[in-house]
Symmetry: C2
Subunit: 229 residues, 2 copies
Amino acid sequence: MTIILYDLCGKNGKRFSPFGWRTRMALAHKGLEHHVELVKFTEKSKVEFSGQKLVPVLKDEDNVVSDSFAIAEYLEDAYPDRPSLFGSSEGRGMAKAINNFVDMTIMVHMGNMIVADVSGHVDPACLDYFTSSREARFGKPLPEVQVGRDDRVVAFRKTLEPIRRVVQDQPFIGGDRPTYADFPLFGVLQWARCTSTFAILEPNDPIRHWFERLLEDYDGVGKSEPAAV
Amino acid sequence: MTIILYDLCGKNGKRFSPFGWRTRMALAHKGLEHHVELVKFTEKSKVEFSGQKLVPVLKDEDNVVSDSFAIAEYLEDAYPDRPSLFGSSEGRGMAKAINNFVDMTIMVHMGNMIVADVSGHVDPACLDYFTSSREARFGKPLPEVQVGRDDRVVAFRKTLEPIRRVVQDQPFIGGDRPTYADFPLFGVLQWARCTSTFAILEPNDPIRHWFERLLEDYDGVGKSEPAAV
């Protein structure tokens, strides 16, 4: 029995996908051994068997699941004896709402601060694809996309306030231990940490302390991926 | 033993406070009888004993709690044998994060769509105070604040997407039954329902169906406050 995680990778196998990190943390939380299949930006055909072309994809025997939140729900249901990702059935829907808020109100503001930095970590064989697809999305050359980020990061930090006001008073969103509710924002910040040296967070931000706790947790799986230098 | 809820009221005792509704739903969820003290906009001295001047305030014997989320936490701890507001300890922090997201990414866009309509439900004795304080906040006469809301409501509806994507698949954010995670957005929509006839939601929006379920729940406490006509 082997769980296989298909996860995005960049240059030299670097894994910085914000969605991939949600799943890696979920697997670590459940304590599930798994095999990793690295998928470069131009190798999406590797996950065609899942009926779509986005990573991460989880394959567990005959079960194939895509979409990081759906993967979390699958793991919770398939491995109920392992530590719960959601704490309760009520927590599952709440974590999903938080997952969606992070995607739609926080993560959308990160791309234009780090996309050129990310390109420096993309495998050379995928760089043309990455650059042209992202330039089409942002409508300008990638270095220009990042212009003004010193100003925009101030607004970005404000988008973290709903979570900051929780983790300034307790270690994790769900209390004393991490739950899946922590992983969406963790993934966003890990994406930045692995690809960019831009200072996303101020030194004394409670969000930084929370992020550092998560980097250390689960035997330091988060920290095992080197920060950009 | 009597719990006293100090709640904002407008003309003829109308209760439309978005924060007051969070607490009313929490009390209904816990099935707790309580006495209500109505507080007009210019009667904030009635809650001075709480050390601050915002409503709602809950007084339960010698315990005085202000801030609607703090009131929910108090009720959860003081009445553990009643139905849980959060489902689990993990759900408490998650509900707090959702509460904060609703305040900071959704509710902030409602005021400029309904504030002039709200003024029509303010007690005449408080109307000068309400109008001058809100005009100072928005920087223009209240009817002008609402100009353009037909366009802005489209963007507002998009802010609901993180919650819409949960309640389109299940009855409430926490699953089959309401939890406190539902009440912050319920309060925002109830504020609009009680004060304005402006169509905030489209007829087939899953958020509307969710809101209507909540209006009916707890013996229809939400529906007991008449909609604006």
